[in-house]
């Protein structure tokens, strides 16, 4: 193994992967138990608080293959990218790790959402998954409309919380990969600026 040069950082990809799976797990494995627990409590707290605010119906990725094509720079987006363009929130929620995996499983197993002009789309109900039921399954449009119409604004704020939790976990993954941004106890490089 090449020894780390002074001022360079040793990377720890395994810890980064563990921190992706469960926020803070990589730091706990590295021996930074307090920080790992802090990350876990804060990020899972934020994510599940957001889920609860959204009646557990604001983390999902739907199959939008029946919907209109999406073009970026004149190119049609294929499969997953098209679905993510319809449900951009999941691109942030994904980074929370295992907690968002039921949505991926539901995405793989649930039938596509109906076309916007399909007759009976208002009463369309996706078949519940055998393991997770309707948890993190793309809700029918009628249910989404009901949640937004009948509830207060907490449903919308809830998905914002889940997205922020996911995006913050990217910083946690970076911290597990190569340590904190500022090395508090590292001696200053000779002749370096303050």
């Amino acid at each position: 193994m090449i020894p780390a040069l002074p001022g360079t950082r040793k990377l720890d990809p395994l810890a980064a992967f563990l921190s992706y799976l469960l926020p803070g797990l990589g730091q706990i494995v590295q021996g930074r138990v307090g920080k790992g627990v802090l990350y876990f409590v804060c990020l899972y707290g934020l994510f599940f608080y957001g889920l609860t605010m959204g009646s557990w119906k604001n983390v999902w990725l739907g199959d939008y293959s029946q919907q209109a094509e999406v073009q970026i720079l004149g190119r049609k987006l294929p499969g997953l990218l098209k679905d993510l363009s319809y449900r951009r929130e999941f691109a942030g929620q994904f980074w929370i790790g295992i907690a968002a995996w039921p949505a991926i499983l539901q995405y793989q197993t649930t039938e596509p959402l109906p076309k916007p002009d399909e007759p009976g789309k208002e009463v369309w109900q996706p078949k519940p998954n055998s393991i997770f039921g309707s948890h993190m399954q793309a809700p029918p449009e009628a249910e989404l409309n009901k949640l937004q119409r009948d509830a207060d604004k907490r449903w919308d704020l809830g998905w914002v919380f889940t997205v922020i939790a996911g995006v913050l976990n990217i910083l946690v993954i970076y911290d597990a990969l190569c340590g904190p941004v500022v090395r508090d106890d590292e001696p200053k490089p000779a002749g370096g600026a303050a």
């Binding site: 307090g34 913050l168 910083l171 946690v172 508090d184």
Partner: protein, 99 residues
């Protein structure tokens, strides 16, 4: 009334979690994590709270827009003057520990 809506009571959870996680990714020492998190909470509450008050005044007393704008500008200047000087002080105290 501004604070009667329950949506505002959910924001402290977000503020505390974001400040603590962000600060913990910057430092390993607990005293510095807590100090930076507290600074972020003060900055965010100050900025968003100030903005909220100005918008509230504008929406409830639209004819007072000149006074509200003047209060907003003065408050912003004071806010940045105070937080920037606080930040400088904090930066000095957070200098690397001599061995």
């Amino acid at each position: 009334m501004l604070f009667a809506a329950s949506i505002y009571w959910d924001l402290p959870v977000l503020l505390i979690a974001v400040s603590l996680v962000y600060s913990a990714t910057r430092h390993d020492r607990w005293d510095r994590i807590v100090k930076e998190a507290a600074n972020w909470i003060v900055r965010m509450v100050g900025f968003l709270g100030g903005l909220g008050v100005v918008l509230y005044l504008l929406s409830t007393h639209p004819h007072l827009w000149k006074i509200a704008a003047a209060i907003g500008i003065v408050a912003t200047i004071i806010y940045y003057a105070v937080t920037l000087s606080l930040f400088r002080k904090w930066k000095k105290s957070a200098a690397p520990v001599a061995k």
